[in-house]
Symmetry: C2
Subunit: 447 residues, 2 copies
C-alpha cells in the first residue's frame, strides 16, 4: 500500500512539505489539512495589498484544485484538527478520522496580542491572514487614524501602507528602538527617521496599557498618554500554534516553540518521535552562527524546513542545518536587511563582537540614480569570524545580505571576507569595491 | 629618509596602490607617473557617457591636485617612462630620473586591434580612455551607421549606446556567440536575442577582413560581405602593456601578461624580483577555482590587486589570492553576469562539469515589476563543488552573482549551497526561495 502522509497547515511550510513529499514519493497518498479558507499565499505581502499593489486573488499562488490536479495532493480547507492518536497513527478532525504513516505539523503561529483591557474591541486587528487583511480593508475606510502596536518590520511596513492610504499613523513600541532585537540602534535610528519623514509618529519605550472605546476602538493609552485612533493593528510578534503539538505531548523548547531535530522531528520527554515531522513558525531552531537556540519565523525558513520535513516524511533523507536567518524589509524607498547576530543577540549569547560600518552608494558615485548604502558587519572578537551584518539602503539590499550570509554560514573571518570575497562591478549597479568590503576593513582594523 | 614609492599608471590599480601605500606608510614619498591626461575614472562607464548619462567631467573622481592636497601623492600626468634601472633603482622619464625604493607597475592594457587592412583609417576607434570617448563622440555626429568589432560586454554595451543615439549598428564577432569564453551559448543566445530586438544586427562566426574606405571609414568586410558604415569601434579585447615590464626583463606568463606572485611581485628568469610590485590589467592571475592561470582584467580586480601591491610596496604585508572574477554588465533593460568557470573555461582546464539551470523572477511571482531571472550553476562532477555561475536578469544580478561567487570561493558543494546558503525574502525584492537555489537543485539531481 502506498504511504499515507498528512500535513497539518497550508502555509509555506506545509505546502512545501506536501509538494516535496510528492517529488520524493510519486505513489504516496498526501493530504493537507488546514483551518484556513485561503491557501498558498505569503502573509508578508498583506501591507502592499492594503495599499493597492495587486488584489487578494492575485497573491494566491495556487488553489486546492491545482494541488489535486497537478500534484495529486488533497487539500482539506476549513478543517479543524480535534485530536491525534499517535499510537494508532490517526488524525482526528471534525469530519472524521484520517490514518497516516507520516505526519507533518506545520501549524504556524498566531499574532500574540498582549492581555490588555480593550484588546477585543471591534477595530482591533492582527495582520496574519487574507481574512485579516480583508477585515482591515473594510474597517479602514471609516477611520482617519491608526495605531500600530509593535515596530517590527511588519508594523513598519503596515505603518507606511497606512500613511500611503492617507491615515494619521502612530506606532507604539515598548522597546526604545524600532526593529528591536534584530537591528542595531544606529541603523534603527535611520529607519525611524525615514518613517518620521513620511509622517509616522512614534511612541517609544512604553508598552500599550489599554485599548479604549465604547463598543469600538476610540483610542489607545500608552505611558499615561491617550492617543485617539479609529483602529489598532497588533504587529506584536508571532507565537507558535501549539494546540496540535500539545495533543501529542511534544517537547516545547525554551523559546516557546516545538523543539526539533536536524531531521525536523520533534521530541517527547527527550526522545525523538518517529513518523512526525515539523516545519515553519511552530518550530524552534538551532542557530547556525553560535551553538544555541533561536527562532526563524521567516517565509524563507518555512520553505527550507518544509523541504526537509517533506523529504523525510516521504522516506527520503534530508537535514536542516542551524539557521542564520537573513531577512529584508522594504519600507517605501528604503530597504532594511539583516543576517546572523545583531549586537542584542550577540549579547544574549554572551558573544563579544566588534563592529565595522561603512557608507557608500549602490552604484558608481557618479552614476545617476545611485542610492545611499550603509553596511554594518559584526565580528566575533575571539575568532574574527563574521557573525552578523545589517544594511540600510535604497536598493539592492537582498543580494548583498545573502552574500554576507554566505560569509557567516561558511565561518569566514572578516579578514578573509575582505581578501577572498570578490564583488562584480558595473557602474550602473555597484561601486568598484563593494561597501560591504569596506565595512569589513573597518572591523578588521579594530581587531 | 622616508621610503620612496613610485607607481606607474593612474588607473584603478595604480591609484589604489598609491592610496593604500599612503595609508600603510604616512611618511613615504609617493609619486604616480602616467602617460594619461585624465586620471581616476572608470573606463567601464564610457558607453553610458556616450549616450548622455553624465559628462566626461562628472566621471572623473579626483584630480591630481586632490591626490596632492588630500593624500600627499604627486601625480605626474602625460609623462612617459623611457627606462628603468633596477640596479640603481631609478625610473627614467622624458623629464629626468626618479629614484625609488619600491616600484609599482600598473601600466594596464591596450585594446588589441587586429592587423587588418584599413585598421588605421580615420573613423576607427577603441574604447579605453576619456580621449577615446571624446573622439568617438565627435565623429559619431557625422555618421548614420556603426560597426562594432567584438561582441564582448564592452562591444555590446557600446552597441546599445549607439542604438540609443539612433545609429544603425552591426556587431561583428568571430566566435559563433556573443560574450564568448565567459558566458555559455544558451545564455548568450538570450542576450543576442534581446539586442536583436533592440535593432542591433549581428554578423557572427567570421573575423573582420578589412576596414574599407578612401581617406576614412566607409565600410567593413566580413566573411566576404561588405557592410557600409561611417565608423568602426574596436572592442576586441585588452592586451597587457608590456613596454615597462620588458625594460625590466620581467617574465611574461603563458597568457601574455606579467606573471606575479601572491605578493604581487614579478619574476625575472623564474626568480622573484624584490622591490617591484604589479597590479591591474598588466598582470596574469592564478585562478581561485582551479589550479591554473587566468586573466582578470576587471576594474574590481585592479582595485584588489592595487591594495595588495600598495600595501607590500609600503612595507606592509598582504596577499592576493586566486581570482574567481565575478563580472556584471548592464545592457539596456538586461543584466548579464557571470563568475568562475564557464563551460568553455571548464573545457580549457579539462574539468568535467554538470549544469543546473532555473528560471523564475526577481520578485514574488505576483508582485508588480518583477523581472524574468535565469540562473545557471556549473558544478565539478568529481567533487560536487560549485565552479561557475551565470545570470541573465532584468535586475538584481550583481548581489546574486556575488553570493554565488562566495559559494565558489569557499569550495562549497552544490548540495551544501542548496542546504546552507539561506536567502532573505520580501515580496518586492525576491522569491521566497531564490532561483539560484533551484538551479543548484537541478544540478544536484544530475550528480
Amino acid at each position: 500500500m502506498s504511504k499515507r502522509i498528512i500535513v497539518i497547515g497550508s502555509g509555506a511550510a506545509g505546502l512545501t512539505a506536501a509538494s516535496t513529499a510528492r517529488r520524493v514519493d510519486p505513489e504516496a497518498s498526501i493530504t493537507v489539512v488546514t483551518e484556513d479558507e485561503h491557501i498558498a499565499y505569503s502573509p508578508c505581502v498583506i501591507p502592499w495589498v492594503l495599499e493597492g499593489v495587486g488584489g487578494w486573488d492575485s497573491i494566491v499562488m495556487h488553489s486546492p484544485a491545482f494541488y489535486k490536479d497537478e500534484r495529486g495532493i488533497d487539500v482539506m480547507i476549513q478543517t479543524k484538527v480535534t485530536g491525534v492518536d499517535d499510537e494508532r497513527k490517526v488524525l482526528v478532525t471534525e469530519g472524521g478520522e484520517l490514518p497516516y504513516d507520516s505526519l507533518v505539523i506545520a501549524t504556524g503561529g498566531t499574532v500574540f496580542v498582549p492581555p490588555i483591557p480593550g484588546k477585543d474591541l471591534p477595530g482591533v486587528f492582527s495582520v496574519r491572514t487574507i481574512n485579516d487583511g480583508k477585515r482591515i480593508q473594510e474597517w479602514m475606510g471609516e477611520v482617519d487614524s491608526v495605531s500600530i502596536v509593535g515596530a517590527g518590520v511588519i508594523g513598519l511596513e503596515m505603518a507606511l501602507a497606512m500613511r500611503h492610504m492617507g491615515k494619521k499613523v502612530s506606532v507604539i513600541e515598548m522597546f526604545p528602538q524600532v526593529v528591536p532585537r534584530i537591528l542595531d540602534a544606529d541603523l534603527a535610528e535611520m529607519v525611524q527617521s525615514y518613517l518620521e519623514g513620511q509622517g509616522v509618529e512614534f511612541v517609544m519605550g512604553a508598552p500599550i496599557a489599554s485599548v479604549d472605546g465604547d463598543g469600538k476602538v476610540e483610542a489607545v493609552t500608552v505611558g499615561g498618554r491617550r492617543i485617539d485612533c479609529g483602529m489598532v493593528i497588533m504587529a506584536t510578534g508571532v507565537r507558535a500554534n501549539l494546540e496540535v503539538p500539545r495533543m501529542l505531548e511534544l517537547d516545547i523548547g525554551e523559546l516557546g516553540a516545538v523543539r526539533a531535530s536536524p531531521s525536523m522531528q520533534p521530541y517527547r520527554k527527550g526522545r525523538l518521535v518517529r513518523n512526525v515531522y515539523m516545519a515553519g513558525d511552530v518550530v524552534m531552531c538551532e542557530s547556525g552562527v553560535v551553538p544555541g537556540p533561536t527562532m526563524s519565523q521567516l517565509g524563507s525558513s518555512a520553505v527550507r524546513q518544509g523541504i526537509v520535513a517533506g523529504t523525510n516524511a516521504a522516506g527520503g533523507s534530508a537535514m536542516h542545518p542551524g539557521v542564520v536567518s537573513p531577512w529584508v524589509s522594504v519600507i517605501g524607498d528604503m530597504q532594511v536587511a539583516g543576517t546572523g547576530l545583531s549586537k542584542g543577540l550577540a549579547e544574549y549569547y554572551g558573544i563579544d563582537v566588534v563592529e565595522g560600518v561603512a557608507q557608500g552608494y549602490t552604484r558608481a558615485r557618479y552614476y545617476p540614480g545611485g542610492k545611499k548604502l550603509v553596511v554594518k558587519v559584526l565580528v566575533e572578537r575571539s575568532s574574527h569570524r563574521m557573525v552578523g551584518a545589517q544594511i540600510v539602503s535604497g536598493e539592492e539590499a537582498t543580494g548583498r545580505i545573502n552574500w554576507l550570509t554566505a560569509a557567516i554560514v561558511t565561518g569566514t573571518t572578516v579578514e578573509d571576507f575582505a581578501t577572498y570575497f570578490e564583488n562584480a562591478y558595473c557602474p550602473p549597479t555597484s561601486m568598484v569595491r563593494d561597501v560591504a568590503l569596506n565595512a569589513a576593513d573597518r572591523a578588521a582594523e579594530k581587531l
